[in-house]
């Protein structure tokens, strides 16, 4: 990769927090990678490759926690499992990168395959936010889509840039392209809201 590799500094962080974050990040990467393959989006695929760095940092931090905690051979025996988990998570992010590479290396997927795939994969969607959509000008926090319909916005495309895993305070703008995942019927409702076919947010 072209960017310089940063030094990763130790900071105290709970192992549980690291594991939960690694789990979430792995699932996010896989969903984004499949989205990139499904919608044949090269730039999104490149973002997935970038995300690998975040997993690397977490794996380093987790390994550091282990080293600090191990004082004798008994500790080492008990802790080696945590290190295995760190490397398995790294493997998952590698696999996501492999999926993304199908797009970046221009191998691509047969158009009919992606068409059929999109029909059966009901968990992921890509939508454009219309001018008169109720989603426009609201923050992700205000929309509270997770509680309302079990939908999670995992990426926003705005002005040629991708915003990955957007924060709660991020405001949706008309013209945004959103990648979202969730339960199929929630995804359907979400799409209708974005395309202003449905004008009201139900509680």
């Amino acid at each position: 990769m072209s960017h310089p590799l940063e030094k990763i500094e130790y900071k105290p962080i709970s192992v549980r927090k690291l594991l939960v974050e690694m789990k979430n990040l792995s699932e996010l990467m896989i969903d984004l990678a499949y989205s990139a393959a499904l919608f044949n989006d090269k730039e999104l695929a490149e973002e997935v490759l970038e995300l690998e760095n975040r997993v690397d940092v977490l794996a380093y931090l987790l390994n550091m926690e282990i080293m600090i905690a191990a004082r004798d051979s008994k500790d080492a025996e008990a802790l080696v499992g945590v290190s295995v988990v760190a490397s398995a998570t790294d493997k998952i992010s590698d696999a996501a990168a492999d999926i993304a590479a199908v797009v970046t290396q221009k191998i691509g997927i047969h158009p009919i395959v992606s068409e059929i795939f999109r029909k059966v994969e009901e968990r992921l969607t890509r939508v454009k936010v219309y001018e008169d959509s109720v989603l426009a000008a609201k923050t992700i926090d205000e929309l509270d889509l997770a509680a309302r319909m079990g939908v999670d916005i995992i990426a926003i495309r705005r002005n040629k840039e991708w915003i990955i895993d957007p924060e709660e305070k991020e405001q949706i703008k008309p013209g945004d392209i959103l990648i979202a995942r969730g339960a199929p019927e929630g995804i359907k409702e979400f799409k209708e809201l974005a395309e202003a076919k449905l004008k009201k947010l139900e509680d």
């Binding site: 709970s14 549980r16 939960v20 393959a37 500790d75 008990a78 802790l79 493997k91 059929i116």
Partner: protein, 192 residues
């Protein structure tokens, strides 16, 4: 595109989606087995790993035996690569589950992580007289009624991803996680 060809594509995609879904279910179950310290769940992940190997082989054989034209082959190569990635994901999930299965007394660092969870995994069989039978997961409203979250459904040796449209059947085993007090409520609901 000939109708026959399209049908072949559909069959291949269907086979791939099962592979993909299973590998993703495994990640969820593997991390849950670790965080909840559940050997039973880890054991399920191991079983699923074997199943994924079979799915992957079937999928690749299906693609190879489909006799596509050279110009169609490139698009299918992409799909084959996705299949390899899905199997890699399943392998990684199995590695996580193995940590749980080896059963070394977890180090205080990990133990702390596990105890912070305060959640448990429960396996509940749905009996004939349960109001859940023939309801979809959406209609069953299990999280609302019991506070338990369904991770997977085991049916006749198979594991099903808990999609909202899935209908619950008599004899299904619901694999769910949540706080201990919800376990009792779920048991009452599934096997009254």
């Amino acid at each position: 595109m000939h109708r026959e060809n399209r049908k072949k594509f559909e069959e291949i995609v269907e086979s791939f989606v099962e592979l993909k879904d299973t590998s993703e279910l495994m990640i969820d179950l593997a991390y849950s087995s670790l965080l909840l310290d559940s050997k039973e769940l880890a054991d399920d992940v191991e079983k699923l790993e074997e199943h994924v190997d079979q799915l992957h082989t079937d999928f690749e054989l299906l693609v190879l035996s489909s006799k596509f034209k050279p110009e169609e082959a490139k698009g299918l190569l992409g799909l084959i690569r996705l299949g390899v990635a899905a199997e890699k994901i399943a392998d990684a999930a199995a590695e996580i589950a193995e940590v749980v299965l080896r059963g070394v007394e977890p180090h205080p660092v990990l133990k702390l992580a596990i105890e912070e969870a305060e959640e448990t995994v429960t396996y509940t069989r749905v009996t004939e007289n349960s109001p859940l039978v023939n309801k979809t997961l959406r209609e069953a409203r299990i999280p609302e009624e019991t506070g338990m979250w369904v991770l997977a459904i085991r049916r006749a040796g198979k594991y099903i991803r808990p999609k909202p449209g899935i209908k619950i059947e008599n004899g299904d085993v619901l694999i769910a996680s949540g706080y201990a007090e919800g376990e009792e409520d779920l048991k009452k609901l599934a096997s009254p």
